[in-house]
Symmetry: C2
Subunit: 271 residues, 2 copies
Amino acid sequence: MDLLVTIDQNYLQPLETMLTSLHDNDPAPYHLWVLHQQLTAAQVATLTTTTQQWGWQCTAIRVPADRFTTPKTTKRYPQEMYFRLLCGDLLPATVKKVLYLDPDTLVLRPLSALWRKPLHEHLFAAAAHTGLTTIATDINRLRLNQDHAYYNSGVLVINVALARQVITQEALNAALIRYERQLLLPDQDLLNLLYGQQTLRLNEMHWNYDARKYLGYLTRSRGRYDLQWVLAHTRVLHFCGQAKPWLPGHDTRFTALYLLYQRKAQILFNH
Amino acid sequence: MDLLVTIDQNYLQPLETMLTSLHDNDPAPYHLWVLHQQLTAAQVATLTTTTQQWGWQCTAIRVPADRFTTPKTTKRYPQEMYFRLLCGDLLPATVKKVLYLDPDTLVLRPLSALWRKPLHEHLFAAAAHTGLTTIATDINRLRLNQDHAYYNSGVLVINVALARQVITQEALNAALIRYERQLLLPDQDLLNLLYGQQTLRLNEMHWNYDARKYLGYLTRSRGRYDLQWVLAHTRVLHFCGQAKPWLPGHDTRFTALYLLYQRKAQILFNH
């Protein structure tokens, strides 16, 4: 299975925590593809050494600083925003499909069922963070004038072979300029605006559980989605939003779990 | 390091969860001593096989059904209540010291510092669950007429060599009869009544953290003992009381952590 991550230096430790949880809960050997612009050779070596000890392969690809010359009107967006959508151009032609995971996730169960989902003509598979209501979807439908769910781009299956043919930097830049005033989260909005129709919807409770929404999920499901359910069924826990579990003061039902993996990662990656 | 557990069939799965957390967070090889009356040969074999795969030794000792003929007045107490206090009589003479852990605990860090604590002339080392107040201690001092803290018997270091000389079944039975009306938790009360003066006090935040008391610890420490502190310092998390994390509906800041280890245990012990 091929796993794509894109990373700047600030997210290196969360990335290591996520990888530690994946290794701990999924026996499969992964080929890890790391797209980055700023990691040092020592940082890449640490990632490579530890994941190779797990029996994984690890390929870090440094994207040249001038690879994406963002249009003037979009200077507020970092270049890394392109990495997911344009991974077809950045990964070797031999890579036909990847799983993509944000560094602010924890993996609690094997991902093989996600990897095996047939994508057919879809470019992406992604979940929408509805919190079991339609409110967020309704707002984003209005904002972006869409007729599909508003997908979260933190957990994806990417049909790299098809993306390589379909997604171009020119198309992204044209959309960035055209929709500038409507865009809040650049890569996620672009995915929804341009490719939402070609996205296969995943079950958010299984594949991209929004850890902030525990009480909402629990209440709206009339008690069905309690912690026992989550630990028995959820594969990927996503710590979306501003409050991150590696920052002081985080205090939720999933914080202790995160901190356990954070410490395991610190041991495994020799910090 | 020698680790003592005492077990009836109802607590076998929690025991396996506790052992899994210990193995996961402490690289030391243990010699596990299991005192029981009711485990089947298959259950003992599963315990032995899995812990031997970890590089541990495992010795299960079946205590004969007629070993402890409880006095008539104390028939409400199970025989297992004697196992901790009389382990000197039940374990081989070569065992001079053991760590004892209740099955409703999780180990989050290595226990070597606990094992190395010099006991000198103390029979036990134990923590008191104060919750950072003196209320519980004050009530129990009155109830049992004691001038020391009220110790929790869920996490112990036992000076087995000394206990073998000092603690007798006759002394326990005499106390059971004499104090019958004051006793609420038989073995814990007996430990406090008879041997509280010979018990070395442990830091409860490190060695026997009462998982029910999170908000109390946090408030009374003015925010110091938050989840970040607990995951960085606490070695043993103790799920005291009636609400157990393996029962439906448990919903605390430590439930997810428990359920993760419960599932790991189910995999490791082939359930």
